[in-house]
Amino acid sequence: MGSPANHDNVASLATDFYSLLESFKETPFYHLLFEIFLVLTVLWLILFRKPRRIEKKLTEKEKQELIDEWQPEPLVPPVDANHPALNVRVLDGIVGKTIEIDGKKSLNFATFNFLNFVGNPRITDKAIQAVQKYGVGSCGPRGFYGTIDIHLELEERLAHFFNCEEGIIYSYGFSTVASIIPAYSKRNDILFVDEGVHYAIQKGVEASRSTVKWFRHNDISDLERLLVEQDIHDKKNPKKARTLRRFLIIEGLYMNYGDLCPLPRMVELKYQYKYRIFMDESVSFGTIGQTGRGVTEYYNIDRRKIDLISSSLEYSVGSIGGFAVGSSFVVDHQRLSAQGYCFSASLPPLLAAAAIEALNIMEEEDTTLCDTLMEKSKRLHQKLLDIKGYLIVGEDISPLKHLRLTNSQNTVARLEEIVEFAQTRGITITVARYLNDEHRLPEPSIRLILNVEMTDEELEFLCTVLQEARVKVTV
């Protein structure tokens, strides 16, 4: 019953199959190809093709609706009318050792006038002569007839003062270091930066787009840790490591903390780990070292080991602008690549003339000015340590000191009260101002700046007033 039928079925199947194969042989080749292609396409569609989300394009009407709906934020957020920046003291006259505020003379411990060159008659005379020869503005960038012979003279004098090969000047102190760093350090280069550097350096570091490695302020062991990490990383990829430049960005005397950088150890590490040192000596130029040549003189290190020293003409020298000194190999590059140099008008000649005369005075006085300043700083430091209730931040030889209140009482409001009180007694001091987006906002403090012409009695008076202010504020 089953098997003959089955057998027949199988046989018929076999015949059918055989005839199928035969028919394959007879069909034209292109037909076969087409069928195979269709079968493969179906298989691919089923197995491999991911369902694509069809994004419907927006119609013009929808686009217009979106545009109509969009509302921007107001251009600027509302500002507190009591913010100290909107209620500054407006001064009159020369802001030198003494300032006149509200008709009363007060001693000035607030402005960066370390060597008391503001209002110096010799400098004033030279500036007037320069105006009578060159006018006020230079009317052009350095590349296009804005280079005046007085700029070249100032650059030579600065290079000579520091015993370096070449110097270069900028027309604004802030832009000096902020233009220098991006001129050398590009994307993918490595910057080892101290956390306590001032804002202009932070902006320069940001503008360079390099990889930044911050190390704790003045903490050599933290820096060594970072260097060792980088070294391990380099060994994994030596070919790439040979194209990455490394720089160490530090300050000679830190403006936000008043302490010196541990330069000798950093120079040792330089030759061990092969990075270049860019040091910013804005505050230490003219104030540290026997003849005012900065931290390298203080530690007795050969200045050729530091690749670039940048500084400002706005603090000790009493002019406006900034400069950098170093070897020709390093400094010359800035003449074509530093943005603040190439795309900006040059320094007004009267300010350059004033800077040259200030350098003349510094070279004549040689050791007298700076030694005196360091001595007075030490004495002031001792006297301040004797006052109860204040924390003095900074080296003893630093003419820039930060004063904080002890314990948890250190707030900006209290410090402002102290400043107000001191003003009524005839002492001008200031709370250090910072913007909120600093990399590491320093604690609130009063920034005390010592002028070399202050006498001992005046320093005593300052300490008395600070003591009284402390008592008044805590009560």
């Binding site: 500002v79 920046a85 804005g146 280079t147 832009s175 194209t243 390093v330 008008a345 007004p348 009267l350």
Partner: protein, 520 residues
């Protein structure tokens, strides 16, 4: 226009007292002639030859056959090289050959005439030596639009006085003890001059842009910036952290397309709405000589609720009936521009920059600007120079000195541009802008033009790559109100000679005509 200048030519200009203002409808006819094919070809060939020579010389230097000029590294080996050699290829092999055309030192006030310090080179521009001599030249290079660069006169007297009474610096930041009464006076005068509610001044023009744009926009904002914006604007935009989109120079259609697309698609990846949109433009572009299309920009800005930042570095004092910049020129409302920025280096012959606008904008900048918190305030003598110039420009004096200068500059601009164009030079830019670029195309011609003009006693600025596109090297004349017609005539005569020597007078739109002076 040709008729008026023919009429004016018959008057004597030995002492120009041009009292009638040059009031015309602001015209929209900026012309940019297409680069002739032959010029493009020869310029590219020029670069190819320079490259071949450069490659060959580098080969010689690397093989130590030729001495490597320039200084060498003083660190021991093992340090990663400070500069990539291919980055400085252009500097070593192209720029160095014509380096004597740049960085020329001067020894006098940069007024209508200039004393250049003569310098010679013994080793093909690698180093220079001063001979001690001075070359007197007519100055068409300095940014002295209103001619206030002087070393004598009442303004200089008041500057000297201010040095004696206020010193050279307050040595303190604006937020601490750096604000003097002069600064406040400057700011209020500036606000009065520009017609805004308030203004704030800074010590450096470059820093004004780079340090203040980050306080206005930040992450989550969009900046639409013109292709040819200045380096300071680009730096400020980058530092702010906002998304930057560049539109083709003065192309309002492209700008509108970008605005529409950006608002519709929102921030990249997250598609959130933008917080703010800021359009950054310049009043007069210093390399092209073109003006921004302010009325159209204001219309676009209002339609899409964006904010407008106008950088009037070259146009303040130089454009407009009353010298108040492009806003005055186009007769727009100054309240429509949200942020007016400018510099004091060009028309005021001082140094520094300013931002002006509504009071809450300026208050915000006073509180958050990097410059007021960390940078030393402006030097008092410089402030005094600006205040004196502003007083003149506000027309407060009986002699109307400010008005005279503005008119003189406008007349000089039209005269010079017309004659230069008629000579057959290819001149770019707006017919009323005091910056006059004439195209030279190839780097050798820009060097030759510069040197030939110097031989004839005219100091000009010639620029090439990278300040301009690769084949569009040019000479840029900066006119000044202190140039007399005789000086301009002399310059044009020399330019005609040198143009013939270099075969540059080949404009198709304005073919050269033999131009004969009818006056002696």
């Amino acid at each position: 226009m040709a008729k008026t200048s023919a009429h004016q030519k018959n008057r004597s200009y030995t002492n120009v007292v041009y009292a009638t203002p040059v009031s015309e409808h602001p015209s929209l006819d900026e012309v940019y002639e297409v680069t002739p094919f032959s010029e493009a070809f020869w310029t590219y060939l020029n670069y190819v030859i320079l490259n071949i020579f450069g490659w060959f010389r580098d080969l010689l230097r690397n093989a130590r056959i030729e001495n490597r000029k320039g200084s060498a590294e003083n660190n021991p080996p093992g340090f990663v090289p400070l500069y990539q050699s291919y980055e400085s290829f252009y500097t070593r092999n192209v720029y160095q050959r014509i380096a004597d055309c740049f960085n020329r030192p001067i020894g006098s006030v940069p007024g209508a005439t200039l004393d250049l310090l003569e310098r010679v080179t013994d080793d093909y521009n690698w180093s220079f030596r001063f001979t001690g001599g001075k070359v007197k030249t007519i100055n068409l290079a300095s940014y002295n639009y209103l001619g206030f660069a002087n070393n004598s006169g009442p303004i200089v007297e008041s500057v000297i006085n201010s040095i004696k009474t206020s010193g050279l610096t307050a040595a303190s930041t604006t937020q601490e003890f750096g604000t003097l009464t002069q600064h406040r006076k400057l700011e209020s005068l500036l606000a009065e001059y520009l017609g805004t509610e308030d203004a704030i001044a800074f010590g450096m023009g470059f820093a004004t842009n780079a340090l203040n744009i980050p306080t206005l926009v930040g992450k989550g904002c969009l900046i639409l910036s013109d292709e040819l914006n200045h380096a300071s604007l680009v730096l400020g935009a980058r530092l702010s952290g906002a998304v930057i989109k560049v539109y083709k120079h003065n192309d309002m259609n492209h700008l509108e397309r970008l605005l529409r697309e950006s608002i519709v698609s929102g921030q990249p990846r997250t598609h959130r709405m933008w917080k703010k949109i800021l359009i950054i433009v310049e009043g007069v572009y210093s390399m092209e000589g073109s003006l921004c299309k302010l009325p159209e920009l204001i219309e676009l800005k209002k339609k899409y609720r964006a904010y407008l930042y106008l950088d009037e570095a070259h146009s303040i004092g130089a454009m407009g009936l009353r010298g108040r910049g492009v806003v005055d020129y186009w007769k727009c409302d100054v309240n429509d521009v949200d942020i007016l920025m400018g510099t004091f280096t060009k028309s005021f012959a001082a140094a520094g920059g300013y931002i002006a606008g509504k009071k809450d904008l300026i208050d915000h900048i006073r509180v958050t600007s990097h410059s007021t918190a960390y940078a030393t305030s402006m030097s008092p003598p410089v402030v005094e120079q600006i205040v004196s110039v502003l007083n003149l420009l506000l027309d407060n004096d009986e002699e109307h000195e400010g008005r005279r200068r503005i008119n003189q500059l406008a007349w000089n601009t039209r005269y010079f541009r017309q004659r230069l164009t008629k000579m057959g030079f290819i001149v770019y830019g707006h017919p009323h802008s005091p910056v006059v670029p004439a195209l030279l195309y190839s780097p050798s011609k820009i060097a030759a033009f510069n040197r030939e003009m110097l031989k004839r006693g005219v100091a000009v600025v010639t620029v090439g790559f990278p300040a301009t596109p690769l084949v569009l090297g040019r000479v840029r004349f900066c006119l000044s109100a202190s140039h007399t017609k005789e000086m301009l005539d002399e310059v044009l005569k020399h330019a005609e000679e040198v143009g013939d020597l270099l075969n540059m007078r080949k404009s198709k739109l304005n073919p050269k005509r033999p131009f004969h002076e009818t006056e002696s």
